[in-house]
Symmetry: C2
Subunit: 381 residues, 2 copies
């Protein structure tokens, strides 16, 4: 699919040519005009939009216009619960929460314990299922509205997805899945069926509310193959095409690559204790020069530095602060050690608050479960 | 798979060489020794066993021995609800009910409205789902014990199957499905996933009762591909292998072929009115000679006559009656018209009673639905 760019739902880089990705995936770059539309409708522009952390979309503008016209719309995102939550996961959720807060939207959040079990044979189902509940605590800790946020755990909430997934699955052949996802004849039939479940959530709000409800999906572009199929088949099933907005992937703290559970030393988990998190930051690869002398002389490279990116993409809303920090790095006025100390403190502050709220989340969980709030969609239509 | 014999879950003949099928499928012929085992445990032998209407099996003897040792066992069969029920469908259900009555066994009955929707694109899901409920009335009308008979309608009861199907699906590749079912890359991903749902029911009783529970599946041998996979993967999932007992297919009333909804004029439906059913019998193809004169001289061929087979395989329990009728036909003492009149009356009698009970079944239905009696199986084990 993505000729020279390795971007699939199971493999994605962080420092990539995002303009090229837009071309390869055939999405639209987020333009200044789009941001003006956001400003006119929302009243402000989130820093992740200003900084093009979200950089690409499909029908984000149409989604906003539908909202502005008073049509029903909803948010949808998800998580494959293969590990504890790290900061790379949280990035799009923070933006999603902002959209919920500003526009008063309902959010459907899918936790795909089935897919992770199918994809990674080392896990038992009870492990990916337990991890779904762990991840749920992080979602709740971010402050989503329990009345408007609906968690779906695939293995247990299948009856909400299946009546839709049955109709979706008849529209997708093995050939399509091979072409879109790179599946082969050695792929297990769970993985082969799975796209129908991730796509089903695009259409679930329309079924639950009994009226056409366009969803906007904030997520990495690595998930785009699902939405391409979803958009292809939506009209024939009588649903609006789902809109997407794509975020850049938060870099890991090592050399290159996204923050990933496959390299735990380069990822900051919400369950890391504060000292561990700080230590990971202090040991991080940076865009700095080999010596302090050279750094003062040549300056650092914040654009390829995961420590700076953590500040810019995730932790600091204040543009002036970030710009000043960027310039001090570029001009050699700040060394990596100092910078790391600043970011380590920012991370510590974030984690302390998050951990406190994460503990409270256990009691709030039942209020977030879809199954406690809705009846399954009907078979008859 | 079945080199020269066309037997798949979607295509099966009636007048075939059953000895050859046993070889091709690698099953065991039902022997006189097996029937002695039945007699010793059940206390009697059903006429469908005596007449080898059930002719082949896998581990039927082991199933009986487990029962005799006091181990928990259960029955499982099913129906793809693509049409109203005809007498060919009912044949194995009558035998299944006998087993339930004699051994006091619980029966899990799967109605696969999802699979029929995936397989036959002319249907809407609400149509196959509605037909599942129509078929359910026929099952109930046969007199199964509501306390011990549990109907599963896939699209609505998926949460009972899915926790098991997830584990089953990881064990099956696309390659396996292609080899076993003849699927191709053009197959939709619903059909591709479906075997994990039909197989899941083999293991559902073990999950619901919390102890290893071998199931016996009375059904046509065309369903055997599912059970071969089920038996392959059962040990690695910690379940007993399912046992099967295979019935011959009731011939349709035309020239060759099983009774099939694809040829409605050659099938007797439970919803046919009595006069329509009688007319279909009177118009049936038979094993008779071209003229009454030749028939009296040469005799008929009851072995290849669908009218005689309906009496022998389904309608008449009395061996002496059937044997006498067979001999009168072979010796030309009875003409096809007379024989048809007798069988038409037998069919009418059966249908009258069935229709009466089928109407009462509507009120009984809730007592048969699995969802009204059990909680879904746990994710954790």
């Amino acid at each position: 699919m993505a000729s020279n760019v390795s971007i699939t739902p199971w493999e994605a880089e962080a420092f990539v040519d995002y303009d090229k990705l837009i071309k390869v995936f055939g999405t639209k770059p987020l333009t200044d005009e789009d941001l003006k539309l956001v400003e006119s409708i929302v009243g402000e522009v989130h820093f992740m939009l200003r900084r093009k952390v979200f950089y690409s979309h499909r029908d984000f503008d149409e989604f906003l216009r539908r909202y502005a016209r008073g049509e029903r719309v909803a948010l949808y995102t998800g998580r494959g619960p293969s590990s504890h939550t790290h900061l790379g996961h949280i990035l799009p959720w923070i933006f999603t929460k902002w959209l919920q807060d500003k526009l008063g939207l309902e959010l459907f959040f899918q936790l795909t314990d089935d897919e992770k079990f199918w994809h990674e044979h080392r896990y038992k189902l009870e492990e990916t299922n337990s991890m779904a509940y762990e991840n749920a605590l992080d979602i709740i800790a971010l402050g989503f509205d329990p009345k408007k946020t609906h968690l779906i755990i695939d293995s247990e909430d299948i009856r909400y997805l299946y009546p839709i997934a049955i109709r979706v699955a008849r529209k997708i052949t093995v050939s399509t899945n091979k072409a879109v996802f790179g599946f082969t004849d050695s792929t297990n039939i769970g993985m082969m069926f799975y796209p129908s479940l991730q796509i089903a959530v695009c259409f679930l709000p329309s079924e639950l509310y009994g009226e056409p409800t366009m969803v906007l999906i904030p997520a990495g572009i690595d998930q785009d193959p699902y939405w391409r199929i979803a958009r292809d088949i939506a009209p024939s099933l009588g649903y609006p095409k789902p809109a997407q907005i794509h975020n850049k992937l938060l870099p890991g703290l090592g050399v290159g690559g996204k923050m990933s559970s496959s390299k735990p030393e380069t990822a900051i988990y919400t369950v890391d204790d504060i000292e561990t998190a700080k230590r990971k930051i202090m040991k991080a690869y940076t865009g700095g020069q080999p010596t302090a002398e050279l750094q003062r002389k040549l300056g650092g490279n914040p654009d390829s530095c995961p420590v700076f990116k953590m500040m810019e993409m995730l932790l600091v809303e204040d543009d002036a602060f970030v710009r000043k920090h960027y310039e001090r790095c570029r001009s050699g006025q700040i060394l990596c050690g100092e910078c790391k100390t600043i970011v380590a403190e920012l991370v510590a502050k974030f984690l302390e608050e998050h951990k406190r709220r994460r503990e409270q989340a256990r009691d709030l969980l039942p209020r977030f479960l879809l199954r406690n709030k809705f009846d399954p969609p009907p078979i008859k239509r």
